[in-house]
Amino acid sequence: MSTATAPEPTYTSATHYPPHPDGLITSSQDLASLGDKIGSVVLGDRPTPRAWYFWFLIGFALLNALGVSVFWLFYLGTGIWGLNHPVAWGFAIVNFVWWIGIGHAGTLISAILLLMHQKWRTSINRFAEAMTLFAVMCAGIFPLIHMGRPWLAYWLFPFPNNMAVWPQFRSPLTWDVFAVSTYLTVSVVFWYVGLIPDLAVLRDTAKNNLQRWAYGAFALGWRGSAIHWRRYEKLYLLLAGIGTPLVFSVHTVVSFDFAVAIVPLWHATIFPPFFVAGAIFSGFAMVVWLAVPLRKYYGMGDVITTHHLDLCARVMLTTCFMVNYGYFNEVWMAWYSHSLYEWDTTLQRIWYGPYWWSYWMLILTNTIIPQLYWFKKFRTNDWLVFAVAGSVHVGMWFERYVIVITLTRDQLPSSWGRYAPTEWDWMTMIGSVGLFITLFTLFVRFLPMISITEMREMLPGPQGGRDGHAVMENAK
């Protein structure tokens, strides 16, 4: 074990208990010690790790880069980017889809694993949901700033106006407005509802009045009444129940942005499932990227165990194959359809087009490298899991890049063109990463990164819990 860097109190229970039967908690915990362990991070009992300051400052610096590049964009217009005909989408849409894919896993992980009675969800759902919110915020920026006149963004919404026009409700781009804004709202609701009892925990263990007031205000006076719990659990279950199809619908709509257009290789029925699988794939990669530092810097390795990393890696391996079925299907359908345009575009993409290398980068990072997850060592060693997940981040980005860059080869060679991002494209993209890091570090500092309430519920009976069966069976 290499967690020796953290000279912190151990935060375990006074009595010694056997390990969790499913291997989900490796230290000896009871109701009180679990709450102390997770709560101490935000209540200031344990010093904030130096790594937190490091990452916060990095994130904040990059966030400023985002501010500068967005300011410059608003001042001069989208001409500062590498956009032109025929590639009018460029980095903005690549990054939008990349972020929204990452953003899909949080709510999906939380909701679908809840519906499937997966207890291991409990250790990762809270920070995965936070990840969702922040990733969707990063995603939401791109279509907005990609509009030439972002101050008219409210035209996207239907409202009675003196121009007497309405949005075009048959367009997936309009669907996207509703899908993404609904997704953000519902994710906030799901996350906040889950947080309410934990905020009450923090209110009751607060070290000073400021904490008591701040957490108390957001805990809304929650007192753990049995009647309230009954309604709460029903709400939580139903939110998970409609959140799951919501995730599928939102990423389906994102894929329709492409698939409804009559562009070769975009106009494909494989796109919705292919996109949804990709979203889960990249989302779990981000969960791994967040879980490993939390284990290292906050000593959370006993509640986010190597077993959790193993399970995440297995899900990634599975979704890797779904995504790769998508890659195969694209090529197969292009050949089998006998469509000259489909097949030529495919060959341009993978062989003699100017961006052939990006396709093979995609295959390398998204198909070949994730195969390392077949080896147990790569699923259970923190930094090996981390490294392969990093490859998936690159691969999922290239997947969207390859799709968008298809636009360089039109059916009329006279309208062929090239696309090259400018430094402003890069700065905006890296700046959005800064926004994500900033928000996530603040979240870890000020809110419980793991659900205290649900972890307690998951403890075995003798340790004070209910074996984690509660939500599904008590939600009535």
């Binding site: 409700f169 519902v186 009751d204 753990g224 959140g243 008590n474």
Partner: protein
């Protein structure tokens, strides 16, 4: 006790009597016994949901499902109607020769609005049914109650219960082997 004579400085009114337990099972057991003893106005408090307590309290089913169903139905219907009206009556646009009322194309937004309104009505339904946010509640007057969000389970029999009698109820709760029994000042 000593509050038989009502002087101007009468003792403060009492919200109820509260017993403290160290496990969820004891709380379930206590709630069942209190129900069997004829108490009807009481509530259990726990750091995590314990469904059996709500069952014993006679609250087998919450209203949230009906609220979310209704909310979602309203949102979807309103959205679908809005799109139909805008696309057929107010601003008919010929898009690739498709019919003005191309209703299948309105389904995705109707679905998103269904989820949106169902979720929001569920959230606000929960808050209004539970009376939250509620900055003050008498149960917080009991010093031990700070552990209701930690590792203790409480049963509070309320003064509004027709069978409530401060001394008698306290005595009854003491028979349930609690860690402590406290009066809850109003």
């Amino acid at each position: 006790m000593s509050d038989a004579h009502h002087d101007p400085d009468a003792p403060p009114p009492v919200y109820g009597v509260m017993a403290e337990f160290d496990t969820a099972d004891k709380l379930v057991e206590a709630t069942r016994k209190a129900r069997e003893a004829g108490y009807t106005r009481m509530d259990g408090y726990s750091p995590y949901p314990v469904g059996e307590v709500a069952d014993e309290l006679g609250f087998p089913r919450s209203e949230i499902g009906a609220i979310m169903f209704t909310g979602g139905l309203c949102g979807a219907t309103l959205g679908f109607t809005m799109m139909s009206w805008a696309s057929v009556v107010d601003y008919p646009l010929n898009i690739g020769g498709k019919p003005f009322w191309s209703w299948p194309m309105f389904i995705p937004i109707s679905w998103e609005l269904l989820v949106l309104t169902a979720s929001l009505s569920g959230l606000f339904g929960l808050l209004s049914l539970c009376g939250l946010p509620q900055p003050y509640h008498p149960v917080f007057n009991v010093p031990q109650f700070v552990r209701a969000t930690r590792d203790r389970f409480f049963l509070c029999i309320e003064a509004v219960d027709p069978k409530f009698d401060k001394a008698g109820t306290r005595e009854f709760l003491t028979t349930l082997s609690p860690l402590s029994v406290e009066e809850v000042p109003e």
